[in-house]
Each structure stands twice: as structure tokens, then as C-alpha cells.
Subunit: 153 residues, 2 copies
DNA sequence: GATCAATGGTTGATGTGTCAAAGATTTAGT
DNA sequence: ACTAAATCTTTGACACATCAACCATTGATC
């Protein structure tokens, strides 16, 4: 009977569970990061990636790869973050196509504060709400989903 | 030693697993939905919610609630989708503040096609890559995260 | 029944993302 | 060495989200 198509298929619901739970947690994390540190999640991610890199420095394209976004997105993100004084751009002498993004001292200070805040947010919103077993199960499943299909064809 | 702050805390990594796995799957789903049906995920979500509703119809604000976005977002989304002919707006006589969004026949047809495509995408990108046990574990965990904190204070 | 708060929707400003095109520079191939 | 391909970044056009302000309308209070 094609009169009632499969708009209520259980798989939609099941996957919707993942989507809603994920979005709920991410939204809560974004809210507290915003109110406590005045940082959006993309800004925090940039600071964190740079904070983990030697010299607090990354190429624009490497930053894009780590963030999982296009280089165009990073160009504008760094425009805004550098206007706020947390990062600076600098040219590369060996390859004059590349631009380095580097944390400023203000950026390092901001990251130190924000990382602590974010860790406690993570504890409250994620780790504190699941058992260790659940966290492991989720991590393992997501790790399996992480690499795209067809890499070994 | 404050020289090396906790930018590499394991919790960042663990949660990053969830973020990356989730984004990977969602991106794959969006790509195939786009290439096979020429629908973005927000458009598909709108069609699906309307397709499940009596008369294929919902108030703007109810649609916003189901999608988990603001009413402003829905206003513009329906602007675009109705320009494509998949939904129509219609005024409400009982309460002249409300606008109904209703699937057109073209919208119903599109949804029927897209729902089938999306279900098979879901099988390939999500259900096919995890065991039943893993899917259950993820769904259970995400369901627990779904309701915001502080609802029972 | 006049006022005032709550509700439903739209709009303007802005942040964040995409894609595709363009620019500059480097690397490879003959 | 010179042309051609690949790489890095930026830019323009646009999709999609937020917030805050605003307008209309409804409902509740006095």
C-alpha cells in the first residue's frame, strides 16, 4: 500500500536520537562557552588547534584540515579572530603562498581560561551524564564511523 | 607546572571522537541527498516533518520546535522551499497570527523519493557500519543526553 | 471594555559554512 | 628553461543559523 509511505520508518527515529542528543550537548557546550568565555565554538576550536601546535602556529590549510572545513571558511574565521587580537597572520619565507596563523599572547591566555572552562562543561554535559561504559561504547562506535567509506577500494 | 596546560586532555580527544564521527556521517548523508535528490538536509527535514503531519500541514512555530531552530530560521527556510514549489503558506482563520506550511503535491512526491533514498543512505552510512548492539548503545546514550539538564529542579 | 502581557511571524544585522573562480607561487615534465 | 599542473589563499555569491527588534493579533486582568 503506497498510501502510507515510510515517513515513520524506525530508522529515521533511531538516527534522530543521535542527532538530537548530539545537538543538545553541543548547544549546551556552546552556550556556556559563550557566556563564560565569550567564545564561539569555532573560535575555541581554532585556539585549541593552534595551542597544540609547535610555536602555536599552523598554516591556513592545515588548520582547515584539522577543523574539517574549507580554506575559505578559515580565511574569514581568522579575519575575525585576528581582529579580536587572539591570532596574528604572518607570511612564510620558504613558500610565499602560505600564511601562518599564530596565537598571540592574548590568544594563549584566552585559551588557557577557555580550556579549563570547557573541560568542566564537558564533564557536566557529557561525561557526567553517561557511565564510563557508555562513553567507551559511543567513542568506539564513532571512531568506526569516522573514516570515510571507500578508502580501501 | 603551568607551562604545559591541559590542551591535550584526553577528554577533548574522547569527545572529539563523537564530534568527528557524527560530522562524518552527517556530511556523507548530506552529500548523497544533495546529489541524488537535490535536497539539502534542512529541506529534507522540513519535508519529512510536514509529511508526517495531518494534512501535511504544520504551524511555522510548531515546525520550528520540531526542527529545533528559531522561528526566524523557519520563515526564511519556508521562503526558499516554497519558491521551489514544495510547500505553500496559508493563513489561519481562527488565529490570524498563524501561518500554516503545507506540502504541495510536488513536495509530497519529492519526499517520497527522498525518503527512500535517505533510508538507503542511512543503511549504508550508519546502520550498515555498526552492529545492532552498537546502534542500541549509541541510541540509548544519546537519548539520555537528549533532555536538557535542570528540567526536574 | 481598555489595557497590557504573551504569542506568532517576519525582518535586519551578523557569524559561519559551502562552492566556484581567481590570483600568486611552487613543482613537475619534456 | 618553459610550459603545464598542482597548491595555497582569498573573494563573491549564497544557504542557513542566531539574536533582537518589531508588528499583529490574541488573551487575560482589572
Amino acid at each position: 500500500m503506497p498510501g502510507t509511505p515510510s515517513f515513520d520508518d524506525e530508522r529515521f527515529t533511531q538516527f534522530g536520537m543521535l542527532v538530537e542528543g548530539y545537538q543538545q550537548v553541543v548547544r549546551a557546550l556552546e552556550d556556556t562557552l559563550k557566556s563564560d568565555c565569550d567564545l564561539s565554538m569555532p573560535w575555541f576550536e581554532v585556539l585549541l588547534r593552534l595551542g597544540r601546535s609547535p610555536e602555536y602556529t599552523l598554516m591556513m590549510s592545515e588548520l582547515a584540515a584539522q577543523l574539517g572545513v574549507t580554506s575559505g571558511a578559515v580565511t574569514r574565521l581568522i579575519d575575525r579572530i585576528s581582529a579580536a587580537g587572539y591570532v596574528s597572520r604572518q607570511a612564510c619565507d620558504e613558500d610565499r603562498r602560505v600564511q601562518w596563523a599564530k596565537l598571540t599572547p592574548a590568544g594563549i591566555a584566552k585559551l588557557e581560561q577557555a580550556a579549563a572552562v570547557h573541560l568542566s562543561d564537558l564533564d557536566r554535559e557529557y561525561f557526567g551524564r553517561l557511565s564510563d561504559r557508555e562513553v567507551s561504547a559511543v567513542s568506539k562506535a564513532m571512531d568506526e564511523l569516522r573514516q570515510p567509506l571507500g578508502t580501501g577500494l
